[in-house]
Symmetry: C2
Subunit: 202 residues, 2 copies
């Protein structure tokens, strides 16, 4: 393939710096636990699981046609900002806003390690994901809720119990799924019912 | 999007079973250690890192045009067989053959959890990766060597020292990179020289 200007070796140095930096995503712990309950999930392995989920589940989208590659690119990149901004489990609007500002700064710093054309490409994908307006972003954001539901399903929602999460909070958090796919939404409701039956969700 | 026949809900049940099963890839430890040296890498987070590496580095491929999405699909799926077959660090041809047989059985079982059309799609991608003949598979296999080099670069190849790996073994293991990209090959040689200077590679 033909490299954009800048010199292949020099570009590769920047790309290696970026790839070294994002290795830190493997150290960011999420609230979710693995299906075997053994430990908390980290954001790097979550991103992989999500990308495979997109390959499997894109067919359930309400939108008539979906660029699956774009969905997967967004999902591979969407959590990288957590390296600086952390993974937070917030329900309050004020906290959400403060977090969004932190993530914007993080995106600037981390994607800024890349050659300029790639910085712009990745930043654009990240903004598209955050805005949640295109069909691809709607699906990607829904999948970001559905993947944890795979883990909740396997563990009867025990994490919800540990955090004292309420049914209202979960239903609100899962709303992006409703918009993206009735099939996925129905499945989420089953997972929620199962967690309630197990006494893990008030 | 329109679902292939089979009933969306029934397909989703199979897809959820598959996504639950592959969660186990997060528990498969590799020989590589993270850039901060804190612990061994697992195969799920390795797969994520690799997919992002493909997004960044595909431009360095020798091949005149590369289907990046196909490369990324192969990389997201290529290690799933390790759930049954383990991650082995082998240099002997006889061991490699035995491992290949185990992986074939694993691919049949795990991809077999999916709806038939997806089972075939994923199996075909995995076989294409394993065969290493198409431009996409050549690049994917090279990246599977380059991503660990990011970790070796950050840790001066200390893992090679711990395993008593020789320069010959590493050069042989890195050969797929030579075929796929002279730029990536030159970078690998720099990482190797650095590890030798640190006294970590005989």
């Amino acid at each position: 393939m033909t490299s954009p200007p800048g010199g292949a070796a020099e570009r590769l140095e920047r790309q290696f710096r970026f790839l070294t930096e994002i290795d830190r995503l493997k150290r960011i712990e999420r609230q979710s636990i693995l299906c075997d309950g053994s430990r908390r999930e980290n954001s790097a392995e979550h991103s992989w699981h999500l990308a495979v989920a997109a390959l499997c589940l894109a067919e359930h989208a309400t939108a008539p046609s979906i660029d699956r590659f774009k969905v997967i690119k967004m999902l591979l990149l969407h959590d990288i900002v957590e390296i600086d901004a952390g993974d937070v489990f917030v329900h309050e609007p004020a906290e959400l806003e403060a977090q969004a500002r932190k993530e914007e700064v993080a995106a600037g710093r981390i994607f800024g390690l890349l050659p300029e054309d790639q910085r712009l490409e990745f930043l654009e994908l990240w903004h598209e994901f955050e805005a949640g307006e295109t069909d691809e972003a709607v699906l990607a954001r829904a999948l970001d809720r559905v993947q944890p539901a795979v883990l909740h399903d396997a563990t009867d929602g025990i994490v919800w119990h540990r955090h004292g999460t309420t049914l209202d909070q979960i239903q609100k958090r899962m709303l992006p799924v409703r918009q993206a796919s009735p099939t996925l939404w129905a499945k989420i409701q089953t997972v929620i019912r199962k967690a309630r039956a197990a006494g893990h969700l008030r």
